[in-house]
Symmetry: C2
């Protein structure tokens, strides 16, 4: 099943996407809801973030080639090697934008990269979750582009602006609840040309490992999300580039990159 | 003026604290509100978080002695020196608890510290804010205790559990809107005995510097908050310790530390 949110008279509303279009929903899939009986064409609405996110967990360096040749590595620091355990990081909501909204390139940015990522959406509260029951806590999956300014990442002590500047976290277009992780492929295209392709589930630490590890210390809540990291590297992006992150079986997240107004 | 939130029939409600008690408010100080005409004794209510926080900015190593002798430094890494610029970090909301709620010590914790911190509450949206106008965007100030597990901080790649485990972020008891930063002192007491005292405003980078720097890249929103860092070091805390963080002119944030159930 595909869940999304769209703007309905200025307010986000949940809907279910089928071949016939969008069926509006009263309420939230994370709580109680009732399904309407009309249907809207997908092309007639503006999509917003596919759900209201709570804690934004971000997994870093979770694929071998990206971790070994980390494009955000600070100059003069020794190579870190692969992570030894699933230590997660946090991001702010302030950079989140929806499918088809523009990523604004700050004027002083010099090396802006995409990072196509699987996003795991938590649907069920839990603490001290076992790896075996971890997927019971997953509501579904969507797609994120963890836009990263490499020159800032190298000189700042934290990724606060490198990964959290306004518009740097596109997510969407919808949540897919039926997914076979082992079959997924992630592709990233710039202006239609494929630049990156990897098996989505070739992670150093998998979805179940992260859910179990984090929940030993932190209660997971419906609406929490894990961005699972990326593989490979991106070319430097330019104004007017259109970046599409596709994950097979989920969909395509598309955003145009535009230069900030002077 | 002092703003707080308290539980009213199971739902948080804003109130204004005066010598006569709490005056209930309809709405929110960050939006529209109307002030009631009754008054409740402070002792008759249960306080909750003093406001609904949005982005949780956390300033690290912002006082000289704490930064020079950083208790969370990783073994075998070279001394970092003082930060050269105001790079902020993020924390999750999942650890937030109110005044008088217990901090739960995980069973495998071996070195748990307090960090008494000034919390700056943003009241007005803004981007590219100048240092000169930064304080126009401040709604008021409250108190945070950035509870930190030092043994985890030394071995983990990120502070995800060391500073974000459940109950590790006490905040309150209320927001004070009238503050003279240059006069404030922060004191931390354990079981009534003062362990730490410092001039709250003796920061490496001040409130106006952080607001201006962060807002060059990220839009600040009402309800965003900056935890401004701490000075000195804490003793290792034990079960049943009561930690009070007092900032003169604001109030006292008090929390008991209890051992996690087996």
């Amino acid at each position: 099943m595909r869940w999304l949110q769209y703007m309905d008279k200025g307010v986000p509303r949940y809907g279910i996407l089928t071949d016939a279009g969008i069926t509006p929903v009263e309420g939230s899939p994370f709580d109680q809801y009732t399904v309407g009986n009309q249907s809207l064409p997908l092309s007639s609405v503006r999509l917003t973030l596919p759900f209201v996110p709570r804690t934004f967990y971000a997994v870093g360096q979770n694929y071998a080639a990206h971790a070994k040749n980390y494009p955000g590595a600070k100059a003069g620091t020794p190579a870190q090697g692969l992570p030894a355990k699933p230590d997660v990081a946090y991001r702010a909501h302030s950079g989140l934008i929806a499918h088809d909204e523009p990523v604004v390139i700050p004027r002083d940015s010099t090396s802006l990269h995409y990072e196509g990522e699987l996003v795991v959406v938590i649907g069920k509260r839990g603490k001290r979750i076992s790896r075996e029951s971890a997927f019971d806590h997953v509501f579904g999956y969507t797609i994120g582009n963890d836009v990263s300014e490499r020159s800032w990442q190298r000189i700042d002590r934290t990724p606060w602006r490198a990964k959290n500047a306004d518009t740097f976290s596109p997510m969407g277009p919808w949540i897919e609840t039926e997914v076979n992780l082992s079959r997924l492929q992630t592709m990233v295209r710039v202006n239609g040309a494929e630049c990156t392709r990897f098996r989505t589930n070739d992670m150093l630490f998998g979805v179940d490992t992260f859910i179990s590890a984090v929940s030993q210390y932190v209660t997971l809540q419906p609406g929490d999300m894990f961005w699972m990291g990326t593989e490979g590297t991106s070319p430097d992006l330019k104004p007017e580039d259109v970046v599409e992150v596709e994950i097979t079986g989920i969909g395509v997240l598309r955003n145009r990159f535009v230069l900030e107004d002077a």
